[in-house]
C-alpha cells in the first residue's frame, strides 16, 4: 500500500480549511485511507539516519503520512487527494476534464519507429499549456511521477514517465530504439554528454537509478526520444535529458510515457493530466498528442481522458451492501465518490466513470463506492440466512483427538517450520537421497528456507537443542505435515500428515519409544498382528538410525508406515546433542 507524505500546511491550503488531527484521521478512516503517522522532514531524517544527520536546513513542519489504497492512483498527490475528498464532502463539484483546442500549428506528434517494438513498444503523450507552478506544486508534480513509477509502473518496468519544458524542444518527436553506443546526450543534472554505454557505467553506482538499469541493459537497442532537431528528450526508463528539463518557470509541459503495458500507460497519463491540469490557465484542459506508428501508419490520440459509461441496477447494489436506498439517493451517494450517476430508468443508474477512476472495473466497484458513501458503520447488521451444518476435515479431526492422547501419554508438542535447510533433511539425517524427494525453493532469502521438510525429526532435534537446560528426560512430539514430491498431483507435490516423537535421555530407551508407538496404535484401535489386520515392527536398516537398532513399522494391509529406533550417533551430534535419543516417525494418513 503506497504512502504519501504531505505537509499539513499544504493539506490545509488544498482543503481550504484546517482540520484537527482527530478530524482528519476520522475523515481518512471513513473514506478508506489511513493516517499512518505524523512526522516532519526533520523527524524523518532523524529516524532514518540518526540525530547527527539532522541539520538546520531541515524543516520541522508537520507532515501527514497517509496510506493510499493500491488501486487509487488518483490519490497519490495532494491535488487528487484533496479534490476527491472535497467532492466526497460535497464542498466542490466533480470537474469535467476536457481536451484543449489544437493550436494553430497543430498537435504535437510522436513518430514511433518500428525498432522500439523489441524493447518498449508503446508511447503516449500529452501537453499541459500555460501552467503556473509554485515550489509546492512543482515538488508535488515530481513526487507524483515518483509515486506512479514505484506503484502502477512497477518500478518503471511497465511504464516510464518523462516530463519536459516544451518551449526548449520542438516536435515532431521521434521514438526510436538505437544501439547504446549511438545514443549520446547530456542527461539530467550532468554537465557533459555521455553515450548510453557510458551512462550505464555511470549509473551503476547511483543508489537511485541503478535499480532501473536491468530493464534495458541486456537489450541490443535502448529506447530514446528525440525532438525534431535531434535533441534527446529522454532515454526511458532510465533518465531524461538535461536540455528539456522542467523548472518552476516552465509554462508548457510535454509529457511522454513509454510502456510495455499499454493499458497502464493510459492510466498513468490520465492520472498525471487530470491531477495537474488544475494549474493550467484553463483548468482541467489538456492538449492531445498524436502518436504515429511509422510502420503501420496507425495514428492514436492521447491522453484518452476516457469517460466510461456503465449501467448498474439499484436492487443489485442494495442487495450486495444490505441497504434499501431509492434510486436518487444512491445516485447522490455516487456523486460523492466522483462518479456521475443518473437514474436512466426505474431501478437503473447510468454511471459515468471519470478518467481519475481507472480502479472501477465492474459494477461491484460501484457497489463498494455506495457502501463507502453510505458508511460501513451505518449498516444494520444481520446474520446469513441459510443454515449450514459444520463438518470437520477428517485428518484434522483425527489428529486433534490424537494430540490430546499423546500429551496424556507424557509427550510435549513442538511446532516447527515446514521450511528448512537442505542439510537438515539430508546430510544431518544421513539421508543423501532425501533431496531428490524434496520440494525446493527457488528464491530463499536465507539457508533456513531452502527446502520443504520431508521429515519432522530435524525440527524436533532443533527444538531439543534450544532446550538443553531442561530436566531429562525430554519427550517431544510433532503431528504436522511434511511435503513430498508426487507426480500424480496437479502441482507435483503433496502434504503428508506425520507423527514423530523423540525420547532424549541418558539411555536411548528404545522400549520407551516403542511403548509410545504401541500406545498410539492402541489409541488408533490397531492391535499388534502380522496378518495384515494390525501392526508390527521388523528389523530394518535406515541411515538415520543406529545399525541394528532400527525397525520399520508395518501397518494394516502391510503398508509401510515409518521407522522407529535409536538415532545414529552422527545424527545426534550433527544437531549438537550429546545423549542417546530414541525416535519414531510414521504416516498417520492410512488411519483415516
Amino acid at each position: 500500500m503506497p504512502t504519501v507524505g504531505i505537509k499539513k500546511v499544504i493539506l490545509d491550503k488544498h482543503f481550504e480549511r484546517v482540520y484537527t488531527e482527530k478530524e482528519f484521521d476520522e475523515l481518512c478512516f471513513e473514506y478508506g485511507l489511513e493516517l499512518d503517522e505524523i512526522t516532519s522532514e526533520k523527524a524523518a531524517v532523524e529516524k532514518e539516519r540518526g540525530t547527527d544527520a539532522v541539520n538546520a536546513d531541515l524543516n520541522d513542519q508537520e507532515v501527514y503520512k497517509i496510506d493510499i489504497p493500491a488501486n487509487r492512483y488518483d490519490l497519490l498527490s495532494v491535488e487528487g487527494l484533496a479534490r476527491a475528498i472535497r467532492i466526497f464532502k460535497q464542498e466542490i463539484p466533480s470537474p469535467h476534464y476536457k481536451f484543449a483546442a489544437a493550436p494553430k500549428s497543430g498537435l504535437q506528434q510522436i513518430i514511433v519507429k518500428k525498432e522500439t517494438a523489441q524493447i518498449r513498444p508503446f508511447v503516449v503523450g500529452a501537453v499541459l499549456r500555460d501552467v503556473t507552478f509554485d515550489a509546492d506544486s512543482y515538488a508535488s508534480f515530481i513526487d507524483l511521477q515518483d509515486k506512479l513509477h514505484q506503484n502502477i509502473c512497477r518500478k518503471r518496468t511497465l511504464v516510464a514517465i518523462g516530463t519536459h519544458d516544451l518551449d526548449t524542444i520542438q516536435g515532431p518527436f521521434e521514438y526510436r530504439a538505437e544501439a547504446p553506443k549511438d545514443i549520446k546526450f547530456k542527461p539530467l543534472n550532468q554537465t557533459k554528454e555521455y553515450t548510453a554505454e557510458e551512462l550505464m557505467t555511470l549509473y551503476s553506482t547511483d543508489s537511485h537509478l541503478k535499480a532501473y538499469l536491468p530493464i534495458i541493459q541486456s537489450s541490443p537497442v535502448y529506447p530514446v526520444i528525440y525532438d525534431k532537431n535531434g535533441v534527446v528528450c529522454s532515454m526511458p526508463p532510465i533518465i531524461n535529458g538535461e536540455h528539456s528539463k522542467i523548472s518552476l518557470k516552465t509554462k508548457n509541459v510535454f509529457i511522454e510515457a513509454t510502456a510495455t503495458d499499454k493499458q497502464k500507460a493510459f492510466v498513468v497519463l490520465d492520472t498525471i493530466v487530470t491531477l495537474f491540469s488544475q494549474y493550467c490557465k484553463n483548468p482541467f484542459t489538456v492538449e492531445q498528442v498524436e502518436v504515429v506508428y511509422e510502420e503501420t501508419g496507425a495514428k492514436e490520440l492521447y491522453p484518452l481522458l476516457s469517460y466510461r459509461e456503465m449501467t448498474v441496477t439499484t436492487p443489485e447494489i442494495n442487495t450486495k451492501i444490505g441497504i434499501s436506498l431509492k434510486d436518487e439517493e444512491m445516485a447522490t451517494l455516487l456523486n460523492k465518490m466522483s462518479l456521475k450517476a443518473e437514474v436512466s430508468a426505474p431501478g437503473t443508474l447510468k454511471i459515468v466513470v471519470p478518467p481519475t477512476r481507472h480502479d472501477i472495473l465492474h459494477a461491484c466497484d460501484i457497489a463498494e463506492d455506495v457502501g463507502v458513501a453510505y458508511g460501513y458503520n451505518n449498516l444494520v447488521t444481520r446474520l446469513p440466512e441459510s443454515n449450514t451444518v459444520a463438518v470437520a476435515f477428517p485428518i484434522n479431526k483425527l489428529c486433534d483427538n490424537l494430540r490430546i492422547e499423546i500429551a496424556a501419554a507424557g509427550w510435549t508438542e513442538a511446532l516447527n517450520f515446514a521450511l528448512c535447510s537442505r542439510d537438515d533433511i539430508s546430510a544431518k539425517l544421513r539421508q543423501p537421497d532425501a533431496l531428490a524427494q524434496a520440494v525446493h525453493i527457488g528464491n530463499p532469502k536465507t539457508l533456513e528456507f531452502q527446502v520443504a521438510r520431508t521429515s519432522l525429526l530435524p525440527g524436533l532435534l532443533k527444538t531439543l537443542a534450544s532446550n538443553r537446560d531442561m530436566p531429562l528426560p525430554l519427550k517431544l512430539f510433532e503431528l504436522q505435515d511434511v511435503i513430498v514430491k508426487d507426480a500424480s498431483m496437479d502441482v507435483g507435490a503433496r502434504n503428508e500428515r506425520r507423527l514423530a516423537a523423540v525420547y532424549y535421555n541418558k539411555a536411548a530407551g528404545f522400549e520407551i519409544i516403542q511403548g509410545f508407538l504401541d500406545r498410539m496404535m492402541r489409541m488408533l484401535n490397531v492391535n499388534p498382528a502380522k496378518d495384515g489386520t494390525g501392526y508390527y515392527i521388523e528389523a530394518d536398516e535406515n541411515p538415520t538410525y543406529f545399525p541394528g537398532r532400527c525397525a520399520k513399522i508395518i501397518g494394516p494391509k502391510g503398508v509401510l508406515l515409518g521407522h522407529i529406533g535409536a538415532l545414529h550417533p552422527e545424527v545426534i551430534t550433527s544437531f549438537g546433542h550429546t545423549l542417546p535419543c530414541g525416535a519414531v516417525e510414521f504416516n498417520v494418513e492410512p488411519f483415516l
Partner: protein, 495 residues
C-alpha cells in the same frame, strides 16, 4: 520466680507436657526464664507438639521486658565507668590526663564527679569518700537475670544512660488442649493400608500437612500454545456452522494462488520479494482447461460485466508453483468445486500455514497460520458479513468493532476490521475481509446472485496477545522455550 540452673533441653516436648500436666497453664517467656533456657528452643518444642492435633491450646502473648544494651552488658560484666575511675585513682589520686587515657575515663569522670565520689584538687583527682558501692552494676546484674528489685527511678536513670531498653517479646500462653495427654506417640507420617485394615488409624496421631508449600509437578505431556488457540478457533467456527476446508496442500500453482482470484500477473504480491517460488517441481500443468480459458479471458479482455485488466495474460506465469501465500488458494479450489457440484449455501473455514518470503523480525515469520472464513450464499450482503464478524469476535471477547473501507485485489467491497484496544487507547486492525469479486466467482460457474465473502486474520497475533509473548520466534519454531509450552494455561479466548 527464681531461676534454676540451666535445665537440659533433652526431650523438651516431654518436659513441657509433664510440666503442663501438673500446672495446667504456663507462659513460655516466664517458663524459659524459670528453666533458664533459650526461649526460642522452648517455642520450637511447643510448635513440634502442635503438630499433634488438640494436645495443646495456645494463645499469643506479648511481654514487655527490659533488656541490657551492649553497653549495659559491658558495665554489668566489668563494672560501671564511675566505679572504674574510683578504683583507678586509688587513695593517692591521679592526674586528669591519665584518667582521660582510659576507655572509661571520660564518662566515668563525669559520673564520679556527679556522685561526688571524687573531686579535682589542683589538677589531681582525688577520692572524696573512702568507699563506694557500684549500684549501677548491681542494678544491671539484677535486671539481666529478670529480678525485680530495681526501683522505677533507677530504671529510668539506666534508660537515660542507654544501658537498658524496653523490648517486646512474643511468647505463647500454653494450656491443655482438648485431647491433652502427657504420653503422645510419635506422629505417623501418613495413613498406611495396614492402619486402614487394622483400624489402628483411630488411635494414631498424624503429622500435620504443610499447606504452605507447592505440590509435586505431575509428569505429563503438554500441547503447544499456538495449537491450543487453534483448537479454540476451530470450536468457534464449528459453533457457527462453518465446515473445515482441506488445506493440507502447501505447494500451490500461481493459477490457484493468484490468477483464479483475479490477481493480475504484474501484481507486486507475485514478486520474488514476497512469494516463495518452487524450483522443483517448478510448474503445474494440469488445470481445468475451460475454466483456465475463462480466467485468461477475464484478466486479459474482461467479461462478466468487467473491463478486465487488458494485459497479455501468460500461461507460463500461471503455471509457476509457489508455496501458497494465503489459504484463499484453497478457498478458490473449494468454490470452484462447489460450482461444479451445484451450488449450495456454504460456510467454510481453515486455519493453516501460509508462506511469505518476508524479512524476518519480532512480528514477521516466513510462515504463519492464517485463520480464514468463507461464506457463500445467495444475496449475501456486507450487512450479513458485519453480522458474522460481530458474533465471531464476540466469541473472542472483542465487542467494540468498526469497519474501514480498504482495497484488496480480489475482494470488492473490502473492509478492514478494527477493534478498540483499551490498553493502547486506540483502534487496531484485527482482520481483513471482503466480498470476492465477480471476476473471480463467475468464471468458476457460480450463479450470478451468489455472493461470497471471505475474511482472515493471523493465528499468531491473538495468541501472542493472549499469552503475552512479544517475539513471534518465542512462539513458533524450534527456538521455543519448553518451559513456556509446559506452563501456558488453557485457552479461553473470551476470558
Amino acid at each position: 520466680m527464681a531461676a534454676e540452673t540451666a535445665r537440659s533441653t533433652d526431650n523438651l516436648p516431654q518436659q513441657i507436657l509433664d510440666f503442663l500436666g501438673s500446672s495446667n497453664e504456663f507462659n513460655s517467656i516466664q517458663l524459659a526464664q524459670q528453666w533458664n533456657i533459650d526461649h526460642q528452643k522452648l517455642i520450637g518444642a511447643i510448635k513440634s507438639l502442635q503438630t499433634n492435633e488438640g494436645v495443646l491450646a495456645t494463645k499469643d502473648v506479648t511481654e514487655k521486658r527490659l533488656e541490657l544494651t551492649s553497653e549495659g552488658v559491658q558495665f554489668a560484666n566489668e563494672g560501671s565507668p564511675e566505679f572504674l575511675v574510683f578504683e583507678f585513682i586509688g587513695v593517692d589520686g591521679a592526674t586528669q590526663a591519665d584518667i582521660q587515657k582510659k576507655p572509661f575515663g571520660k564518662i566515668g569522670m563525669s559520673k564520679a564527679m556527679q556522685f561526688k565520689w571524687v573531686s579535682v584538687d589542683k589538677g589531681r583527682v582525688v577520692r572524696q569518700t573512702a568507699d563506694v558501692v557500684d549500684s549501677t552494676r548491681k542494678q544491671l546484674e539484677s535486671l539481666r537475670i529478670g529480678s525485680d528489685d530495681v526501683s522505677e527511678n533507677e530504671k529510668k536513670e539506666l534508660k537515660k544512660r542507654k544501658l537498658i531498653s524496653e523490648v517486646n517479646i512474643k511468647g505463647l500462653l500454653v494450656s491443655k488442649g482438648d485431647s491433652f495427654t502427657t504420653s503422645i506417640a510419635k506422629p505417623e507420617a501418613d495413613l498406611t493400608p495396614e492402619m486402614i485394615a487394622s483400624g489402628s488409624w483411630k488411635d494414631k496421631q498424624f503429622k500435620k500437612y504443610n499447606f504452605e508449600s507447592l505440590g509435586v509437578v505431575p509428569s505429563s505431556g503438554h500441547l503447544h500454545p499456538l495449537m491450543k488457540v487453534r483448537s479454540e478457533f476451530r470450536q468457534i467456527f464449528f459453533s457457527m456452522g462453518f465446515s473445515e476446508m482441506a488445506t493440507n496442500r502447501y505447494v500451490e500453482s500461481s493459477f490457484w494462488n493468484f490468477d483464479a482470484l483475479f490477481q493480475p500477473q504484474q501484481h507486486p504480491a507475485r514478486d520474488a520479494h514476497d512469494t516463495f517460488f518452487v524450483s522443483d517441481p517448478a510448474i503445474s500443468t494440469k488445470f481445468p482447461e475451460d475454466y483456465l480459458e475463462r480466467v485468461k479471458t477475464v484478466h486479459s479482455k474482461g467479461g462478466y460485466g468487467s473491463a478486465g485488466y487488458n494485459y497479455d495474460w501468460k500461461l507460463e506465469e500461471a503455471q509457476k508453483n509457489v508455496l501458497r501465500t494465503h489459504t484463499t488458494a484453497v478457498s478458490a479450489r473449494q468454490l470452484y468445486q462447489l460450482a461444479q457440484e451445484g451450488f449450495r449455501p456454504s460456510k467454510l473455514f481453515s486455519i493453516d500455514r501460509v508462506f511469505r518470503n518476508e524479512t524476518l523480525d519480532a512480528t514477521h515469520l516466513a510462515e504463519f497460520h492464517q485463520v480464514e472464513g468463507v461464506i457463500a450464499e445467495k444475496n449475501l450482503s456486507l450487512a450479513h458479513l458485519i453480522g458474522i464478524f460481530t458474533e465471531f469476535f464476540k466469541k473472542l471477547g472483542i465487542t467494540n468493532l468498526r469497519f474501514k473501507p480498504t482495497y484488496n485485489p480480489y475482494t470488492e467491497p473490502s473492509m478492514e476490521i478494527f477493534a478498540y484496544h483499551q490498553g493502547l487507547a486506540k483502534w487496531v486492525e484485527i482482520g481483513n475481509s471482503g466480498m470476492f469479486r465477480p471476476e473471480m466467482l463467475l468464471p468458476m460457474g457460480l450463479p450470478a446472485d451468489v455472493n461470497v465473502a471471505g475474511y482472515g486474520l493471523s493465528l499468531e497475533r491473538p495468541t501472542m496477545i493472549k499469552y503475552g509473548i512479544n517475539n513471534i520466534r518465542d512462539l513458533f519454531g524450534s527456538k521455543i522455550d519448553l518451559e513456556v509450552v509446559y506452563n501456558t494455561p488453557i485457552c479461553r479466548l473470551d476470558k
